[in-house]
């Protein structure tokens, strides 16, 4: 019982039993008065959240934290990051250790209905896949009967894995670890034949291997994994702020506003652009923020497309194609409800 998870769980219990009442929870005021955003991210998943040698975090999930900080505090650097493994993340959010969870987390019914979470959007549409040693000679997941499979415990991945093998009448040996590092070690030392995880993550796991060329990703995608930022239930104002901070990035891409042209766009005649940037209307104030909240996001962080390309897309080592994450106008699923 010496683990971090036990510590966080106990903190949750303490928070839930002692705090006067959460109905009055006001995460916005708390964040404003402490002067920084408490954001939970992955401990090291290139493209999603990883730290460089100077301790600077980057990745598509990190950009969501920065966008919310820019919207709320006017400064994208005012974030206190907490890196969490899969098992720690929900308790950290419930206990108030973090106020925003942006850690490649799949939106599911149970997490909405029983864990008391609210998903504020989907910043990456993913699906689960398999990474195998090339020497295994396997070309398709259907050939994996009897294989030992490494997986991170406490994930939807672990559940989908069980479903997939059951559905196909195949057997497997589960090797479940708490941490990604141990998953990689297990794969490299041959404890397991296969790693399974969200497929975008397979590519970033693969570049962490000592010999990336010795392994390959199988073509099968066995699940839907809509990944997105999460907040606690019981604070609708905060929920809205995160939701619309994210929407602002997508809406900016839809309207052609980028971090480079945002200043000239302030003079645009397009009413949609005017409303997004807060030149017209009171959208920001309605959320409890400044009226230029979206301007700050776009100026300091960028629109969704820019963020995607620089973290996981062609401007990154992962080189993931937009695919499902293209705008709805380009055959993808990224879509912002109207700013009005």
């Amino acid at each position: 019982m010496k683990s971090k998870i036990a510590k966080i769980s106990i903190a949750t219990i303490a928070a839930l039993s002692l705090s006067a009442s959460v109905a009055s929870a006001d995460t916005l005021s708390d964040t404003l008065s402490q002067g920084y955003l408490k954001c939970g991210i992955n401990s090291g998943l290139p493209g999603f959240a990883s730290a460089d040698s100077k301790g600077h975090w980057s990745g598509i999930d990190v950009e969501v934290c920065r966008a919310v900080a820019a919207a709320v505090l006017g400064d994208q650097t005012k974030v206190k990051y907490t890196s969490l493994n899969a098992k720690e993340r929900f308790t950290a959010l419930q206990s108030g250790e973090i106020d925003l969870l942006s850690r490649n987390t799949t939106w599911t019914e149970t997490r909405d209905s029983s864990l008391g979470l609210n998903f504020a959007g989907v910043n990456f549409y993913d699906g689960q896949g398999f990474l195998v040693h090339k020497s295994l000679g396997v070309k398709n997941a259907k050939e994996l009967d009897g294989a030992a499979v490494c997986v991170q415990s406490g994930t939807t991945t672990e559940l989908n894995l069980a479903d997939y093998f059951r559905k196909n009448g195949m057997k497997y040996k589960l090797v479940a670890y708490d941490s990604n590092d141990q998953v990689l070690k297990g794969f490299e030392t041959g404890r397991c034949d296969v790693i399974t995880s969200d497929s975008s993550q397979l590519y970033s796991l693969r570049i962490k291997l000592k010999n990336p060329a010795g392994s390959m990703v199988l073509p099968n995608i066995i699940s839907k994994e809509p990944l997105g930022p999460v907040v606690r239930q019981g604070d609708d104002k905060w929920f809205n702020i995160v939701k619309w901070s994210y929407n602002a990035m997508v809406a900016a891409e839809e309207a052609g506003i980028t971090s480079k042209n945002v200043d000239s766009m302030l003079k645009s005649n397009n009413p949609t652009v005017k409303r997004i940037l807060g030149v017209e209307g009171k959208l920001g104030e309605n959320l409890g923020l400044k009226k230029d909240f979206a301007y700050q996001i776009i100026k300091q962080v960028g629109n969704y497309g820019e963020v995607f390309e620089r973290t996981v897309g062609m401007g990154s080592p992962l080189k993931i194609k937009r695919g499902l994450n293209a705008l709805w106008t380009k055959g993808g699923l990224q879509y912002s409800p109207p700013f009005r």
């Binding site: 019982m1 010496k2 683990s3 998870i5 036990a6 769980s9 106990i10 949750t12 219990i13 839930l16 039993s17 002692l18 705090s19 006067a20 009442s21 959460v22 109905a23 899969a86 098992k87 929900f90 308790t91 419930q94 149970t110 997490r111 209905s113 029983s114 864990l115 008391g116 295994l136 009967d145 009897g146 294989a147 030992a148 415990s153 406490g154 994930t155 672990e158 559940l159 894995l161 069980a162 479903d163 059951r166 497997y172 040996k173 589960l174 090797v175 479940a176 670890y177 708490d178 141990q182 070690k185 030392t189 041959g190 404890r191 034949d193 606690r232 239930q233 019981g234």
Partner: protein, 384 residues
């Protein structure tokens, strides 16, 4: 009325009463407040989740389990694994600790130094590091399944575990197992009887040889009586992995090795201090009545030393149970890994799950210490 308050006794009672009322009110407040807060946050409450389907697999279960079983079952699988690993490590570390503790005081310089080096090294390296060392360094370097180390054509050792043949649970197997248990019980009572007779008449009875003899003869007899039908399931390579037989997984092995070697150092120290606490005069007296040094150790020193060593050893046994939860680092599916970890993350009911887990540790701790206190009491020197 005020006069009463000046009475010390009355005042004492009054204050105690007020304290109790205050405490009850506080607990009541915490209780209702917690439930209220949880409901506000839309987190499910209650123990209803236990009957839900888990949906995830567990790699090493002593009872039937797959992803279609309930969270209740997950709880029991975790609990059983915690108990199994604890019992095994308690047994092994006691033996190892006793041996090392005695050797540590050996007159042979080399043996004494080696034992003390063993204690110094393994006691001072954090246990988590030792677990990871066994797991990621020692066991992980074993060959892959296809290149397994093979012993007697039926035991296989590779980086996915140790595979041994397993007898089917038919009437012969069960009959032989029961007969072995029977021999042990019989020898226990035989020993009692022999001791009593020895005290009364001074006559000796060869309990050890009789016991060993019975241990050979009785199971063989049982084998033939119960149908002479041993049927082993042998491990064999199928596809990627071995199937059949009994598997000891690397997670289990690493945890067993690391905890045993670590805890044995503490038990050895307890045994050593027990031996040192037995006064020199006792050994000299034993020598002067002509006992060999082995006899002196066995008959005079150890029986007293062990009494002194029991209390610190109790603590070590409890530490084993608690330390077994470090298994989460390597994914051995004990209670904290599968229940307070995976299950908690899937259903998110921290209060219920952490309470159940803590309760288990509390009960196990209480039971272990009650048991050992009882042994302690039983072994107290009876003054005559």
């Amino acid at each position: 009325m005020f006069a009463l308050l000046r009475d010390r006794k009355v005042r004492g009672i009054l204050f105690q009463l007020l304290t109790i009322i205050g405490l009850v009110a506080f607990l009541w407040y915490i209780g209702t407040n917690t439930v209220h807060n949880i409901e506000q946050r839309g987190i499910r409450t209650g123990f209803g989740f236990l009957t839900g389907t888990s949906g995830f697999a567990i790699n090493d279960s002593p009872i039937a389990y797959n992803e279609t079983y309930t969270y209740w079952r997950v709880f029991f699988v975790g609990l059983l694994n915690t108990i199994i690993i604890s019992v095994i490590v308690i047994f092994l570390s006691s033996i190892l600790g006793l041996i090392i503790g005695v050797l540590r005081l050996s007159n042979n310089w080399l043996i004494a130094k080696l034992s003390s080096a063993y204690i110094d090294i393994f006691r001072n390296i954090p246990i988590l590091l030792q677990i990871l060392f066994w797991y990621n360094v020692v066991l992980a370097t074993l060959p892959s399944p296809r290149k397994s180390i093979e012993l007697f054509g039926s035991i296989f050792i590779n980086n996915r575990g140790f595979y041994v043949p397993k007898p089917d649970m038919n009437s012969t197997t069960i009959g032989v197992m029961v007969s072995v248990a029977f021999v042990f019980v019989f020898v226990f009572f035989l020993n009692r009887w022999a001791n009593k007779r020895h005290e009364e008449t001074g006559e000796d009875f060869p309990v050890l040889y009789t016991g060993l003899g019975l241990l050979v003869v009785v199971p063989i007899a049982a084998y033939f009586i119960f149908g002479a039908n041993f049927n082993f399931s042998y491990p064999h390579l199928r596809g990627f992995n071995f199937t059949g037989g009994k598997t000891f997984y690397p997670e289990f092995l690493a945890l067993t090795f690391a905890l045993t070697i670590y805890t044995a150092t503490f038990i050895a120290e307890a045994v050593r201090s027990g031996i040192e606490a037995v006064s020199k005069g006792q050994k000299e007296a034993a020598a002067s009545i002509g006992l060999s040094s082995y006899q002196a150790l066995k008959l005079v020193v150890l029986p007293q030393a062990i009494r002194i060593a029991i209390p610190p050893t109790i603590n070590q046994y409890l530490n084993i149970v608690k330390n077994s939860s470090l298994a989460t680092a390597i994914g051995y599916p004990e209670l904290v890994t599968v229940f307070a970890g995976t299950t908690l993350n899937q259903v998110g009911q921290a209060i219920e799950i952490i309470s159940m887990t803590m309760l288990v540790y509390l009960v196990v701790s209480l039971v272990v210490s009650a048991l050992l206190n009882w042994i302690n009491f039983k072994m107290k020197i009876k003054e005559r």
